[in-house]
Amino acid sequence: MSEIKLVDLVQALDLTVSAGAQDLEKPVAGGYASDLLSDVIANSKEGDVWLTLQLHQNIVAVAFLNNLAGIIIVNGRKPEEATVQKAQDQGVVVMCSAYPTYEVAGRLYQLGVGR
């Protein structure tokens, strides 16, 4: 696959989009998985799609700060209402997967994300 976009991930992994449905054409440069927001701020890269189980609205600020492609909330969790609101306000894409981090990461890698 040449350029992978968020919409490709949504389709391939059957993700639910909680916020930012209008921005799914964003390209995905790589992936990052971590639940410590301090670590994500320090180590994620621009264009990464970020896998986390954190639901707090600070995840939106972190994604915005590092200009990430989007957030995938794992393991069937749902973002808090304030998180969805903030994501809509700031144009951050928030998606949800029923699978745990390990499996989402594996599937993304298989699709070619970050390879």
Binding site: S38, V40, Q54, Q57, A61, V62, E80
Partner: protein
């Protein structure tokens, strides 16, 4: 660590006021308050609540009544049962250091309450909310959530004995926006008093401490201290 031994250690270390905050439980606060009667040591009841984001927040309360109500709420939102073989006995003691009960909740776990709900719960019960060991890489507010979200009504931030207040303010700029305290987070008797905070108050009491955290009426945090 038992109430009488904790009080004796506090006296020996020259402390005036201590907080008793077990993980997600205030069940040992009352016995320590009783054990300190007549010694001059003031004991603040409380608990260290683990939010759903795995941030530790200390709740300090004016009396056992509020601490108890908050603890009941926390227990109602704390899944799991303790495994004594894997985790150890969670002893509840009386003021004579005698075992009253073995708590069966999974106190090491996280509540299902998010950080905003935890802080609101503490404040709704007239408590003081302090983010624990914010400098640490585990269970600290900055490690878990990156920064302090807008509108979170914390009364103070606590730094561990691994750092001093100047370094903390340099590393985490939001430390300058809050009262900054240091305490030992003692998990053994030897740790009692290894870090503490000097506070200017008219007496050692919960209400005075609250004023000091606000830098109000001439009360203030003088400095954080740690023993080498």
């Amino acid at each position: 660590m038992t109430p009488r031994a904790i009080v004796r250690s506090a006296i020996r270390k020259g402390l005036s006021m201590i907080g008793i905050c077990d993980h997600n439980s205030s069940r040992n606060s009352e016995a320590t308050i009783r054990a300190a009667e007549g010694t001059g040591i003031v004991v603040i009841p409380g608990l260290e609540i683990t939010s759903s984001e795995e941030v530790h927040i200390l709740g300090l309360f004016p009396s056992m009544k509020e601490a108890q109500l908050v603890q009941d709420h926390v227990y109602g939102h704390l899944p799991g049962v303790n495994d004594e073989e894997a985790i150890g006995y969670q002893v509840v003691v009386d003021e004579f250091d005698m075992v009253d009960d073995l708590d069966q909740a999974l106190l090491i776990g996280a509540t299902t309450l998010n950080i905003q709900k935890v802080v609101n719960l503490i404040r709704d019960h007239h408590g003081i909310a302090v983010a624990s060991h914010v400098d640490r890489s585990g269970f600290g507010l900055f490690s878990q959530l990156g920064f302090i979200p807008d509108g979170l009504q914390l009364d103070a931030l606590e730094i561990s004995k691994l750092t001093d207040s100047d370094s903390a303010r340099e590393k985490f700029s939001q430390c300058t926006d809050y009262a900054l305290i240091s305490s030992s987070d003692a998990h053994s008797l030897a740790d009692v008093g290894t870090a503490f905070t000097e506070v200017e108050m008219s007496e050692a009491s919960f209400d005075e401490l609250r004023l000091a955290f606000k830098s109000s009426h001439g009360r203030r945090i003088v400095r954080t201290c740690r023993l080498a």
